[in-house]
Structure formats: structure tokens, C-alpha cells
Amino acid sequence: MTIKQIAEILEAEFICCEEHKDKEVHTACGSDMMSDVLAYVKDQAVLITGLCNPQVVRTAEMMDMICIVFVRGKRPTEDAIALAKGKGMVMLTTQERMFSACGKLYEAGLHPGS
């Protein structure tokens, strides 16, 4: 699916880099612990998280992810947004909670990856 479809499914708002909304993504990972993202993620393109600091962007970048979805209506800090803009990384925010956000995306065809 595209990032735009993720935004539609989660009724999410673009925080930055909306110009990349037509990029295709197939896999995702949901976690508030960046240590676990670094430990277990392989080829996921989307990070779903409730953590809002700049290290979320750096972690996603190290894993070659291209989109971060913030759940529970959270908004990242300004320095995190600035960092994401510099990397062309899409940021979305949704009112959905982690479990339901992951569930809806899974149901729509986004998978954990290998």
C-alpha cells in the first residue's frame, strides 16, 4: 500500500514530508522501545510508535525506514520534526492507539516482514 493509504486507514494527519505520500510500503513494526526496534526489525518500512523524541527518527533511519506513525494523538518534538524533514522521512499522527493502529494496518495488508 502507499503511505497515503496508511493515512486514510488511520485517519492520520501528515506532520511532514507529505510529498512522499505515494511511496509504496509493505511492512511495518510497532514499538515504543527503540532498543527493541534495533534488535528485531529487519526490512520494515514503517515504524508505529508512541515515542516522540529525535531518537525515533535516528532509529528509523538506521533501519532504512521511510515513514513514522505516531499513535495516541502524539506529536513529535520540533527537533524531531526538523530531523525528519532533513531526511525526507514522512511523519503521520493518528488518534488510534497502538494496538488498533497495528491491527487496522495488518488487516489492510501491511505485514511484519521477514
Partner: protein
Amino acid sequence: MSSLHLEYEVEGNNFVSAGQATEKVKFCLKGMGINPADIRRIAIAMYEAEINMVIHANGGKALVDIFVDKIVVKLVDTGPGIADIDKAMTPGFSTATDSIRDLGFGAGMGLHNMKKYTDEMYVESTVGVGTTITLVVNFS
């Protein structure tokens, strides 16, 4: 023979800038056309080590040597040192505080991850003197 040597200062307790050295190394390797899977392996390992230096050791230095066939990253700090390296390598073991966990780190996966993603990893540490971690990734 070293084809490229890079050095970075890592600022202690600065959680905003943490990871900058790794970012720069990643950018450099991309520009050199290194295999993306290899770049990701060294980026994850170095980022974990850099975060550790910021959290536990009040910063330090990252010394990077990029050869034709591999990258060697040495992270040198003068922090408190690691008393029991074997214990620190155990997945889940962490001395991080709750405030670090609130930032998304301190799951006790750092050293374990560094070993998992590299081809060679060495930890030299003396309590009260500091820690040097060496990470090696061979290019495929």
C-alpha cells in the same frame, strides 16, 4: 592500509545529538556505494554504541577506519567502565535508569545487538578508567 579515517566527538548526556556520528558514517558509506545490508549492520551497531556512550559514559570519541573490504569503528570513552562484561552482554541486562527507558532505550539489548550485527566485536573495559568497543563489519 586505511583508505579513509574519520573521527567524531560524541557529546555526553545530549540526547538530541546522540547518533550524529553514526549518521555521518552511514552517509559516507552510502556515497562510497557500499552494500546497503552492510551499511545497516554497522549503522545499527555503531548507533547502539554511540547511545551507550551518551547515556552511560558522558560521551567519548568515535574513531572510524574504512578499508576496501571492511569498516572498523572504535568507540572510546573515559566513563565508569563495565564491571562484568559477560553479564552486560546478556540480552535484557541493563543498568539504565527509568528516565533512559522513557526515552526508548535501556532494554538491555545494546551490547548483544552490537555482537549480533557485526563480524567482530571487542570490549575492553576497566572500572573507573573507561571502555573501548571495537566493531568490525566485513563488506560483502
